[in-house]
């Protein structure tokens, strides 16, 4: 069978690609579109390193077929910053040293943005449960949670030292 032709919007840009049925959105992003910011840590929805926002909902791109994305809108980690201006989540991850190896970081950045878009004032518990699908093996999560809290304060317009 031939490949499917998919028309979609990725990080605000119209994108067309060809894919086979079994190719996941993650396969398409990484191998067809060379958007390698989304990572494959497990390919089973257990690590969150491939998190993207699909039509406003946070999903694991390893659990979405490329063909399903027809007509949809996708935001990946590459689309979080506005040009050279980092999103507050990215800035606070840097300032709070919320990354060590950096492999899980794209997934955390996208998941955190999705959280703060929905709830700019999450409790620590809400942050921890929201991010439970993003595994980080380096940090023990402490600095990630603090960075999320700081980014949330930024988004609420509060000054944080």
């Amino acid at each position: 069978m031939s490949k499917y032709h998919v028309t979609t919007t990725i990080n605000g840009e119209p994108v067309e690609y060809l894919c086979e049925t079994q190719q996941t959105l993650l396969d398409v992003l990484r191998n067809e579109l060379h958007l390698t910011g989304s990572k494959e840590g497990c390919a089973s929805g257990d690590c969150g390193a491939c998190t993207v926002i699909l039509d406003g909902k946070m999903v694991c791109s390893c659990l979405v077929l490329g063909v399903e994305t027809e007509g949809k809108t996708v935001t990946t980690v590459e689309g979080i910053a506005q040009g050279d201006k980092l999103h507050p989540v990215q800035q606070r991850f840097l300032e709070y040293a919320a990354l060590q190896c950096g492999f899980c970081t794209p997934g955390f950045i996208v998941a955190t943005k999705a959280l703060l878009d929905e709830n700019p004032n999450p409790t620590e518990t809400e942050i921890r449960y929201w991010l439970a699908g993003n595994l980080c093996r380096c940090t023990g999560y402490d600095k990630i949670v603090r960075a999320v809290q700081a980014a949330a304060a930024d988004i609420r317009g509060e000054t944080v030292a």
Binding site: S44, G48, K57, V59, V67, G133
Partner: protein
Amino acid sequence: MSTLNYAAPKTVDEAVKLLAGTAGLAKLLAGGTDLLVQMRSGRVKPDLIVDTKHIPGMISIRQEGGGFKIGAATPGVMLEAHATLKAAWPGIVEGLDLIGSEQIQGRCSLVGNLCNASPAADSVPALIAARATCTIVGPSGIRIAPVESIVVGPGRTSLAKGEFITEFQLPPRPAHASDAYLRFIPRTEMDIAVVGCAVNVVLDDKGVCKDARVVLGAVAPTQVVVDAVDKALIGRTLDDAALKALDAAARGVCNPISDKRGTIEYRVKVAGVLARRAAAIAFARAKGETPVTKH
């Protein structure tokens, strides 16, 4: 080299025809959170994937006749965000909500969780406890069946070839009625239930139980209804004696296996514990109180 086809029918009829016309294995795609994992691991090798999400109504929540109609492929996030549904059936919403991560919630559905036919499926016990029904379409037309008739064993359903579920129906809620679902997992998130328990109750205005249904998951080849619940709960308030009777009743129906997620002995013990705890939450909710929960 791929021989796997994909179709996204726009109507039920179209989908039924596609399924009927496939010689090989056709798999229905709702949220894909089980199917894609199974395909990747090679456990399932379909010839056709039928994406059901473009069929009208498959992703929807409607209030009708005092009850609710939920499109089969509606993702967890939509149930969670539906305040009226959550107020009427908090146990059903929390059952689906406990599946996987927030990312999984963006995709996972009642139909996928049911038809994957895992004994540990988190959203199924509360549907059965609610006496929910589902609409099944197929080559021989439409039928409505109780949710508890669908799963017949691990990985096996009663659906005939070419049949699929389009909608779930939840009955109207009387006063002083509520439900709860609890599961036990080793971590706080991301695990498969070692034991799951849903409790659905209707109380009178004095807090005496008029009707109750308790359903366990992961303790038998399919979800099991705790049949002795009549004696344990009905006509009683949730006092210590009732809790003790419920604990024993829950343990009594367990027929689990030992596997990497839990032993027989452990599952049986925890089934009793969860039944008590879920009942406490359901009773509190039915009385209009805010139960204390961990999450």
